[in-house]
Amino acid sequence: MSGILPRLVRQGLTDLALHPRASIGAVFSLTLITFLVGLFFMTLVTLDRQLGMARVETVFQVYWRPGTDIGRIRSAWAEYLHLPGFVAVKTYTPEQAMAELGARLGRSGASAGQLFPFLPADSALPATALVSLVPQGPDPEKWAKETEAYFRSQPGVARVAGTPVRDEMGRAWKNVSRYVIWPSVAFMTVMLGLTVGNTLRLLVLARAHEIEILQLVGAFNRHIRLPFIVSGAVLGIGGGLFALLLLYILHAQIAEVLNFPPLFLRIHFPPPPMSALLVLAPAATAAISGALAVKG
């Protein structure tokens, strides 16, 4: 009897090759649904990390008027290092800002005139500073307003963009996240299970004739189910891995698209445990669905 198990496992694998259209269709469906669930996870993770970060850190972007004395600006930057709750500061002189812009436009080293020939020759980008601070005192909202007023009062400052919107979202998120994240993950997992289950049921239906024959020659249900469990697990892993690859490619393209003032949202890839869930959940649900779809 020892030879049955490896044979049935091998049969589960070779069955995939015997029914290439059905197998490809199933992997395609699994990839799409897992990709959608992955997108949802990515959104959740991004909200949680970025808005969660707002609870401990607020970013202000300070713009100076063009032509303001750079010495005065540099002394203001030095002053920021001693602000209460200081975390980090990132600064751009007009030249650095232009170089950064040129690099982003794919024309490193180009002057303002070369980048924007339609603008007057003396046009320049403003000096800027991105200051990250930890909110002080019991009322973060009041602190944010006062700090913004402080930056605005400095000589030569044209505009201050804070992250109060994000802060408010962060506070809102803090309130709802505990009720949202895990129920959402559970809901998406159930949805994934149902969809994968139906996909596998279709695959089993396509092979009903084969199941009937196996039953007629004296196969126990476990013998019929095992190849479907193996096939389901392989299809699930394949679909999950493809979805993860698509998600990775998408993430590489959109990671920074919301990282601008006043949002400063960096899109995060689902962490390893969640990524593993994206492969293991479809594999497990496909394997279970394969077993359940074969009725006794």
């Binding site: 009897m1 004739h209 039953q215 007629l216 020659v217 004296g218 126990f220």
Partner: protein, 277 residues
């Protein structure tokens, strides 16, 4: 028209190969016992009060026109249909009280050949025939030996590695028969197994079934071919019409008027070797 004896002389089989398939001695003397079996599909009464019993090594033709209930009876006997009324015991399995988990155990004792083959077209001849052996966990060497033996007997040895979708209907039928025989079943149920074969091949296959009978297998062979039955005048025949046994030529059949072979032939125009039509 081929005559039984002439055909036997021409058989290319090597009977010694079948020694490999010789079953173990059976402990039961009655392999199939059916009492007052009735079955209906909605308003249609497919079987009515059917009773008979078959002993170890008996061979019985189940004759009757289409719709007489032959297939229903065979399906009940391998637990593909539940028993609605009456009782049936097959290879010591009481089908009335058979739990679903035990159905595979019954089917391992009962070989079934269907008119519509029921083979896997995407798998090779060898894979189809070895399917029931695989499920029993036999070693590759043992499986190969048995599959080869039955394939030689059925003239399929050259087609072992060919996918079943690429072989002829007659060959597919032989694959189905080989799959039923390869496990040495105690009981062999055949539903028009020669329906897709030419007369010569039908007779060759009949010889194989008869050989199994001599090894102790009980064979219930459904057919409506009088010509085929005519080649075996000594065989037992049970005639079904509208779900009832209307005639039979051996005492095991539960009909009051058990008939002798000659009388059955006269009553139902079953041709003998001399008057095959």
């Amino acid at each position: 028209m081929l005559r039984h004896n002439e055909n036997k002389m021409r058989l290319p089989w090597r009977a010694t190969n079948l020694v490999l398939l010789r079953p173990l001695p059976y402990s039961l003397s009655r392999m199939i016992r059916v009492r007052h079996l009735s079955h209906s599909f909605g308003q249609h009464q497919a079987l009515s009060d059917v009773s008979f019993s078959l002993g170890k090594g008996e061979f019985v033709f189940l004759s009757g026109p289409s719709g007489a209930g032959k297939t229903t009876l065979l399906r009940i006997l391998h637990a593909a249909l539940p028993i609605q009324r009456g009782e049936a015991i097959v290879a010591d399995f009481n089908l009335v009280r058979l739990p679903s988990a035990s159905v595979p155990l019954l089917r391992r004792q009962v070989g079934v050949v269907f008119q519509d083959f029921k083979i896997l077209p995407l798998r090779t001849v060898e894979e189809n025939i070895s399917l029931p052996l695989e499920l029993r966990g036999l070693s590759d060497t043992h499986m190969e030996r048995r599959v080869r033996a039955v394939c030689i007997a059925l003239g399929l040895e050259e087609r072992l590695k060919v996918k079943c979708r690429d072989i002829s209907g007659g060959e597919q039928q032989r694959v189905a028969i080989a799959r039923a025989l390869v496990t040495n079943p105690k009981v062999l149920l055949a539903d028009e197994p020669t329906g897709n074969l030419d007369p010569a091949l039908s007779l060759r296959l009949m010889e194989l079934f008869k050989q199994f009978q001599t090894y102790g297998a009980t064979v219930l062979f459904a057919t409506h071919s009088r010509e085929l039955m005519g080649h075996y005048p000594e065989a037992h025949v049970m005639h079904l019409e509208s779900g009832r046994i209307t005639a039979a030529n051996w005492p095991g059949a539960g009909v009051a008027h058990a008939l002798r072979a000659g009388a059955l032939r006269e009553n139902f125009a079953v041709p003998g070797p001399g008057n095959a039509r």
